[in-house]
């Protein structure tokens, strides 16, 4: 593959570079195809995207809101990435987030007289445990009875959703509010503000700590075992790895991380649990984990991208009346393009080579 004397085939031999270029290609393609779909459906794509970028990144408040949106997505996608890495299709982040937010909403206002640090720590621990327990159910079904985790985690999402509706309308209904929401959490449970005057809170730092812990874990024996189980469960078993134990541990950590994403929405952003506050986050997290190549550092960048997308879409709606659900449509497209990234990169390299050859033969 020669391009003007430049050999491009080296890209295929450098895994990191190849990964980076193909992911960028995938994201660009989804943005382009998204633009075509918007213009077909009667929305001006250039206006939409420019409103999206302005809304997400230009100005202190916009950046702060992007950070706010990124926080739960980062937590959840770290959890999803870990599970996917071990070969578990945990698509239950949606429900695990909900359970985490329920626990946080309850502990946030019900325990009085605790110092701030202890209250937040307690809320974190129990939110994590809540999500971990929720993910443990499909984990046990998978490890003990070999029941497909895709279906069980999906069912758990719907169950969690209806539990949240129940909790918000019945036992934890805020009598002072007309909106369906729980009472506000106590000041001692609130995450400190990161950028004064905005809603950006310290949750993002916690999420980054989570990512760092996962990177450290990758180097451990457990991290290695996860990788082996994900690559080849049969080989892992014959190598003496306790596969059910790995499945259960992975699900617990994965669900717990996702639940922390729900927690930050309650004690960081809304300061109470509102109905449908985290709707769709779990499915976005799947897209983010895949775009981030299931790698904690990659996931940090891809959740920033999607956080900006979701926040920008909210702002774009107010400017252009293009509904904010475009974020979801673009996320789905990105997932599909990420699947195609390998063949796409090879195709484009081939195309470049072919174009060069074409022009050369034209010259001579």
């Amino acid at each position: 593959m020669e391009l003007g004397g430049l050999d491009l085939s080296f890209i295929l031999n450098k895994p990191l570079l190849k990964e980076l270029i193909s992911v960028i290609l995938a994201v660009l393609s989804s943005v382009m195809v998204g633009g075509v779909i918007f213009s077909v459906s009667g929305a001006d794509p250039l206006l939409a995207y420019s409103a999206l970028i302005t809304g997400a990144l230009i100005g202190k408040h916009q950046i702060a809101e992007t950070i706010v949106k990124t926080t739960p997505l980062l937590f959840a996608s770290l959890g999803v990435a870990l599970a996917f890495k071990s070969g578990l299709w945990n698509v239950g982040a949606e429900g695990q987030i909900v359970i985490g937010s329920l626990v946080a909403a309850w502990l946030g206002f019900s325990i009085m007289g605790l110092p701030t640090i202890i209250h937040i720590l307690l809320t974190m621990i129990f939110s994590f445990l809540g999500g971990a327990m929720w993910a443990l159910i499909p984990g046990i079904l998978k490890a003990k009875a070999n029941i497909n985790e895709v279906l069980t985690t999906l069912m758990m999402n719907y169950i969690a959703y209806w539990i949240s509706v129940y909790v918000i309308y019945w036992p934890l209904d805020d009598p002072l509010s007309y909106n369906p929401q729980t009472p506000h959490v106590l000041p001692s449970a609130m995450l400190p503000t990161l950028i004064p005057g905005t809603r950006a809170h310290a949750g993002i730092l916690l999420a980054i700590v989570g990512a760092i812990l996962l990177i450290i874990m990758k180097k451990s024996i457990f991290g290695y075992e996860i990788k082996v189980v994900g690559a080849n469960p049969a080989a892992a078993k014959s190598a003496g790895i306790n596969v059910p134990k790995i499945i259960l541990t992975t699900m617990v950590i994965s669900g717990g991380l996702a639940a922390l994403g729900g927690m930050t929405e309650v004690i960081g952003r809304d300061l109470c649990l509102k109905l449908d506050a985290t709707l769709g986050y779990g499915y976005l997290a799947v897209a983010i984990a895949l775009v981030g190549n299931l790698n904690p550092i990659g996931v940090i960048f891809s959740s920033l991208f999607f956080g900006a997308l979701v926040n920008g879409a909210d702002v774009a709606y107010r400017v252009t009346r293009i509904p904010a659900v475009v974020a979801q449509a673009v996320a789905g497209l990105t997932m599909l393009f990420v699947l195609m990234k390998g063949p796409m990169l090879r195709f484009i390299l081939k195309l470049l080579t072919w174009l060069k050859i074409g022009s050369r033969s034209g010259l001579s």
């Binding site: 169950i159 509706v165 897209a287 979801q328 997932m335 195609m340």
Partner: protein, 311 residues
């Protein structure tokens, strides 16, 4: 005649069982065929949702229910072609492709719905006409359960044995099952594995599309975000529980239609004055799906394994 189910006629209740079961049967039949060939369509939820939207929107504009049904089927088939391209020809992971399709379709249908209709009003569309089969519909209980429906339900009655016949009594059906169990051996016998995969995925799209169209045109007469509410996922579970057999899968769907109808009744009876909050009723189908998955049987051996041709 009043029943113990709270002043509701038994026949009317049984009628609603069939209505609630029909979209599940159609989606599950499609999934049965594609999984028999070894292609997993997690995106069946997305196919249904796309069809539900397309049939609603087209009927809304044209006021013609038949173009709605057709549009729904075509919309779902288009999405299934996308899955077939990714999962069959590119050999990518079928779980991820399916989830991607679901996320994309949820986003795009919600977007289009807001662009076309907005969020303030939800205009209803005319229902498909109910055809009472003379004589048969007069049979007590069974009559109104099975023979007082719109034409799509009758079509479903025909599709159940047809799918069974196709899979177990035709040469093509044999090829489909062979590909799902052992694609290498099938290819050695001269079966074009990729074409069988492609064909069965699109059949799945068409049947799920019919189910999705029925949901909006034959039952709800409305569209809202995520109108399918996991019905496609439940259909996926029903295929497993029904052991990949069109007849058993349809019977399981019928049982599930019954559970859904009961759930709706309970909601009406207990939800109002006996203090069982309605969210518990609404989560019932999903809990039952979780429980019945314990009865899962052996899947086709090459399910969800992308087939790579040896050159």
């Amino acid at each position: 005649m009043t029943s113990p189910l709270g002043g509701l006629e038994v026949s009317l209740f049984l009628n609603s069982v069939m209505v609630l079961a029909t979209p599940l049967i159609l989606a599950a039949l499609g999934e049965t065929i594609s999984e028999r060939a070894g292609v997993l369509n997690i995106g069946v939820e997305g196919y249904m949702l796309m069809a539900a939207f397309a049939s609603y929107a087209i009927t809304y504009y044209t006021n013609n229910l038949w173009s709605g049904v057709l549009g729904g089927i075509l919309g779902a088939m288009l999405i299934s072609i996308l899955h077939a391209y990714l999962g069959v020809f590119l050999g990518t992971d079928q779980v991820v492709s399916g989830i991607g399709i679901n996320v994309f379709v949820l986003g795009i249908t919600s977007l289009w719905y807001r662009i076309i209709i907005g969020t303030r009003t939800t205009p209803a569309i005319p229902p498909l006409e109910i055809i009472e089969i003379p004589l048969l519909s007069q049979i007590p209980i069974i009559g109104s359960m099975l023979f007082k429906h719109n034409v799509l339900v009758y079509l479903t009655y025909g599709l159940i044995p047809l799918c069974w016949f196709f899979l177990f009594r035709t040469a093509l059906g044999l090829k489909v099952r062979a590909v799902g169990e052992n694609p290498l051996a099938a290819e050695a016998m001269g079966v074009r594995v990729h074409y069988v995969h492609f064909f069965c995925t699109i059949i799945c799209g068409a049947l799920a599309g019919l189910g999705g169209s029925f949901l909006t045109l034959g039952y709800l007469q409305l569209f809202f975000d995520n109108v399918t509410a996991g019905r496609g996922f439940i259909a996926l579970a029903l295929v497993i529980v029904g052991g990949w057999d069109p007849i058993k899968v349809s019977l399981m769907s019928l049982v599930f239609g019954g559970i859904n109808a009961l759930q709706a009744r309970f909601q009406a009876i207990f939800g109002t004055y006996r203090g069982i909050p309605y969210p518990f009723m609404l989560m019932l189908p999903y809990i039952i799906t979780l429980v019945i998955l314990f009865k899962a049987k052996n899947a086709p051996k090459a399910l969800a394994v992308p087939y790579k041709r040896k050159k």
